[in-house]
Symmetry: C2
Subunit: 323 residues, 2 copies
């Protein structure tokens, strides 16, 4: 029986991953500091005797290394995932992403774990010159502190794979949607429309082109990769084979909610400083391993709106952390 | 009169840069913790009233920000520059390069400095698939903790340029040689041959192909870039238009020293784990601005050997730091 160590296991993707790993017969150690993780995500899992929940911080290297003992593989999902407000607290991405990842890698060395899967982001391509963007796109320029920190994490992981004989898979995600989703633009839109169904304020001109992936499709890909980890190190884009505009997503959301808000746009091609107005990843590499996404972007958006509608508590649970 | 703030200004490249900046009529604030910097490099400069030496650490953000007040431009050269022994102390590159660069950028924000030039490395291209390697080479995989940390610094600088309106030039150096050179393979070879002119031990098979640049040629390029900083952010390879093998450099060194050692090779195409066996950078971009190197690799090696021969103290000055 394999033991999986999941950082950020009480988060959106991590919580879903823990559930799937348990279903697949793994023992799971969930490590989370609950800064954005939710006890509601882990509570249903705690009935399973193969699930162990540890409340810990990645910036506590001793407890981290101690907690990791006995694990076979690390799924490193914990991160500050807020892209937009990075400039308001520039140390956060450095500490919670870059330094935290260093600590995860050092804990792996200390506890003898050699396999890692990592959630990176398509944002590392910056304003990509090649779209759809392949994994070996031209050397990118970072436009956000978030993406810069994820790039730093990727560099650390690859250097550890080279230097210490680790095996690693880095997954560059598009935005992930689905049950448990607790931040991002669909969240913001539903949040606004709950407060006032008659008005929606949209950052940018609404023509930003983005790609999304349903969380279970994302986890399918990661589980597949865990079964065929690169001998040393590999990078895999995870996304669907299409994109939509922010205006498309607004149509789907408002239709699902049955509202017809007046929409105001802040204007400009970018939602905020550092936003990439067109994200669309080439996914031939992961598809060549037999993976395919099951849900379209529209279906993923609809599932997300349904989840948010049925789980009003998530709007209260998101606190002051974001700002 | 421009005021230049030089981190690592008591180091090999930094010391030479401070001297050139003073010659060019700059005021210079040299900030160095003397972990590898040498008082012998700064002593001759202290006679100049435009030169201010501050003994400080980049991991002391308050003193750093205080020291930077009044500067117009930051030349961020301080770094742990040891590539080979990174795996022996994996926190060093993270702290002295990545976190230190974050602190430099934050100090710039705090003190209102908006311009930065940064010494990065051709090692960020890893085992480059394209040689000579252009700035927009395919997204690389890091093979050393040193290069991973420099990549992280580049990402931070570009994100600050995007997010806070900084202007930055990142220079990706090949190995730099010349007066003041205090570590690297030419240093090691001369050090060995001083101790025993009859024998030389070489890491790898000696066929590693590397490129080198004379320190004054490097500084010429950086001074040029300071005069035409990109509006936002730009990356520039700095190197010569050729490469040599380690065996070539051994020939030049032994000839200059007049010794005929027996040479033993440890074997393998890499000098150490993570070493890149072929580094050769495309330099069209910096050359298009009017720069050209003046010295060949052979001349740079000879100048370096001459410097080392005349300055035996550098062998004693390098202490236990490296290990």
């Amino acid at each position: 029986m394999r033991t999986s160590f999941v950082t950020g296991g009480a988060g959106f993707i991590g919580g879903n991953l823990c559930a799937r790993l348990l279903e697949a017969g793994h023992k799971v150690i969930c490590y989370d500091n609950f800064s954005t993780g939710q006890a509601r995500f882990t509570e249903p899992l705690e009935k399973n005797s193969n699930f162990k929940l540890l409340r810990g911080d990645l910036l506590d290297p001793d407890f981290l290394a101690y907690s990791m003992k006995g694990a076979d593989v690390v799924w490193h999902l914990a991160a500050n995932a807020d892209v937009r407000f990075g400039l308001d607290h520039p140390r956060r991405d450095l500490e919670q992403n870059t330094v935290a990842t260093h600590n995860v890698l050092e804990a792996m060395r200390a506890s003898g774990v050699k396999e890692i899967l990592f959630s990176s982001t398509g944002s590392v391509y910056g304003d990509a010159s090649l779209i759809p963007t392949p994994e070996d796109a031209p050397f990118p320029v970072q436009t956000s502190l978030y993406a810069a920190s994820k790039l730093a994490c990727e560099g650390l992981i690859s250097a550890y794979c080279e230097g210490y004989g680790f095996r690693g898979a880095v997954c560059r995600f598009v935005s992930i949607l689905g049950e448990g989703y607790t931040h991002g633009h669909v969240f913001d839109f539903v949040c606004q429309l709950r407060a006032d169904p008659g008005h929606l304020s949209v950052l940018g001109d609404g023509y930003q082109r983005k790609s999304y992936l349903y969380v279970q499709d994302c986890i399918d890909a990661m589980l597949l990769l865990e079964g065929c980890l690169p001998e040393k190190y590999g990078v895999f884009n995870l996304g669907v084979d299409s994109y939509c505009t922010v205006r498309d997503s607004i149509e789907w959301i408002t239709e699902w909610l049955g509202v017809k808000p007046e929409i105001s746009y802040t204007g400009g091609e970018r939602g905020w400083v550092g936003d990439n107005p067109f994200i669309f990843l080439e996914t031939k590499k992961i598809r060549s391993l037999g993976w395919a996404h099951k849900l379209s972007i529209m279906q993923a958006v609809e599932r997300t709106v349904e989840f948010l509608t049925r789980n009003g508590w998530v709007f209260e649970a998101r606190g002051e952390y974001e700002r």
